[in-house]
């Protein structure tokens, strides 16, 4: 008689957490940001969120099918990619372009690299960078927040037929606070407005405070490694602070730098994407500092008003090199034999 007893190797217990739970909490944390964005920009953003998320999930499913892998849409990671992609796009971005970007984000950014966990670049940002390069005009056309009829009418460009040039939205366009600073020679936005989010910008870069709050929830929940936002924001503030101290007339103050653009969103939700960031704590510090620094350099000295997206992608690209030099210090390798 052989008792029905399993043979398993230790450990026999496991911390009660899973990929799915982590991802679900990120989705949860993103919902308030999405809701506020819909409140600010209306049904155009609602449609944008729906389209990118649906496309991301369907693309994920398609590639699972093609490569004969089990379905992975249950892990919510494609949903995050979809939501975050929409949050980085301009509110008036045509839906068909959004769908193309979401397809690229998952197909090129994730599936072809082997799927969850293997993507060296942040898929949502890869999709966003693709959108910026493919449709540069639509991707840098910003509309005002809080238009009166935003809940009843779509912005004219949103519903452009697939592959066609979107209708002009000149009537609603405005400059983002960063573009105003860069191209029109000065800060024209109250920092408080940046905090509460009554500003133009991409769908998710509205309220710095709200993003901060949702991000902190994730940090406390353990879904985001606290070192990422701390190093990114700290390094951005420090870099900006140095320039501001040297020449306050030319450069904006660090608080403006932190609260404007997509820096909060990027620091808490995108630089923190685990697959495309280093695994070692020392590596994360280097990575975060690099991203914060590059963001400010691109904002202050580059041709573009906003640099978070490129800074994070460049940070992603550097991850393997960073991990080369930033392995954990191993126990017992200390010189001088202890005593």
């Amino acid at each position: 008689m052989r008792p029905r007893i399993e043979i398993k190797t230790s450990p026999h217990i496991k911390e009660p957490d899973s990929v799915e739970r982590i991802m679900r909490s990120v989705v949860l944390a993103l919902l308030p940001v999405c809701a506020f964005s819909v409140y600010q920009f209306g049904i155009s953003v609602a449609a944008l969120l729906a389209v990118t998320t649906a496309t991301a999930v369907l693309t994920e499913q398609l590639f699972n099918r093609l490569s004969g892998r089990p379905s992975t849409i249950g892990d919510y990671s494609a949903v995050i990619t979809g939501l975050l992609l929409a949050l980085t796009l301009p509110p008036a971005f045509p839906l068909w372009m959004a769908a193309v970007s979401a397809f690229v984000a998952i197909a090129l950014g994730k599936a072809l690299f082997g799927g969850l966990g293997y993507n060296p670049f942040n898929p949502a940002l890869l999709g966003r960078a693709f959108a910026a390069a493919a449709f540069p005009e639509a991707a840098s056309t910003w509309t005002q927040a809080g238009l009166a009829d935003r809940f009843t009418e779509f912005l004219p460009s949103t519903l452009a037929p697939p592959f066609s040039t979107p209708a002009s939205v000149d009537a609603y366009t405005t400059a983002t606070p960063l573009a105003e600073w860069k191209f029109e020679g000065g800060i024209a936005t109250e920092t408080w407005d940046l905090m509460i989010g009554t500003i133009a910008g991409s769908a998710g870069e509205t309220s710095a405070l709200l993003v901060l709050a949702c991000g902190l929830f994730l940090v406390l929940r353990g879904a985001v490694n606290w070192r990422v936002p701390v190093s990114v924001l700290g390094s951005a503030a420090a870099t900006a602070g140095v320039f501001y101290a040297l020449d306050p007339g030319t450069y904006p103050d660090p608080l403006f730098v932190l609260a404007s653009g997509a820096l909060m969103l990027g620091a808490f939700f995108m630089a923190s994407d685990m697959s495309s960031s280093p695994v070692t704590p020392a590596g994360i510090w280097i990575y975060g500092i690099l991203i914060g620094f590059l963001t400010v350099i691109i904002r202050f000295f580059g041709g573009l008003p906003e640099g978070v997206m490129y800074a994070i992608l460049l940070g992603n690209a550097a991850v393997p090199l960073i991990e080369r030099i930033a392995q954990p210090r191993m126990y017992g390798l200390r010189k001088g034999r202890g005593q």
Binding site: A133, A134, S164, T165
Partner: protein
């Protein structure tokens, strides 16, 4: 490989192999720089393809003629000089034919010198084969190279500008995908073609394996 061919007569296969089976770009991954750099329009791709083919045919031809005359030790040096000469010829010829194309291709005409496909052909084929065969081979490889350039050029121009050879293809109001004309687009389109070929090949292999299994079962 080369030794075997020596006995073989010139066949269609000598030409086709360079065009397809041993396509310099898609299979051998040679001469990638111009393939990526000057294929943002079909016209440029075609011009570059023809220019490269011209240099390839002329220089391998000359190498083949001189093959018994050139001592081994200065082989590579001689080839480089011969190739550079023909590139200079093409460079001036294109300037004379059309400044516009010349400006569009920029330094890449002169960079044909560095295209390892040409030196490779001179070294591996022309230095051992008679003139006739060398020319057919060079034409095949040149055609294969031009084909690859066109594969990229058409896709990039079509999506990036809605045109092919400057002729509008899509209806008015088509929104061009600017990325196709930018550097990343070059990488992505070439990667796309390679993915497509790999996928087709995999399907073929699967089918062949399935067919084999079926016949094996039948017995």
């Amino acid at each position: 490989m080369a030794a075997k061919r020596e006995q073989e007569p010139i066949t269609m296969d000598t030409f086709l192999s360079g065009l397809w089976r041993e396509n310099p770009v898609f299979v051998m991954l040679l001469g990638m720089c111009p393939v990526l750099a000057v294929t943002n329009t079909t016209e440029n791709a075609l011009a570059m393809g023809l220019a490269t083919t011209f240099v390839l045919v002329c220089s391998t031809g000359l190498v083949s003629i001189l093959r018994d005359f050139i001592p081994k030790e200065v082989r590579i040096a001689s080839y480089i000089v011969i190739i550079a000469t023909f590139v200079t010829v093409v460079d001036y010829a294109i300037q004379a034919i059309s400044l516009e194309i010349y400006n569009a291709l920029g330094a890449f005409i002169q960079l044909i010198v560095a295209n390892c496909m040409i030196l490779g052909r001179a070294e591996a084929f022309a230095s051992r084969q008679p003139l006739g065969k060398t020319l057919v081979d060079a034409l095949g490889v040149g055609a294969g190279f031009t084909l690859a350039l066109l594969c990229l050029g058409t896709v990039r121009e079509l999506l990036g500008a809605g045109e092919i050879l400057g002729i509008q293809v899509f209806a008015d109001g088509f929104e061009p995908w600017v990325i196709m004309l930018l550097p990343p687009g070059g990488f992505f389109v070439l990667a796309g073609w390679l993915l497509l070929f790999a996928w087709i090949k995999e399907r073929q292999n699967q089918r062949a394996a399935a067919a084999k299994e079926a016949t094996a079962d039948g017995r």
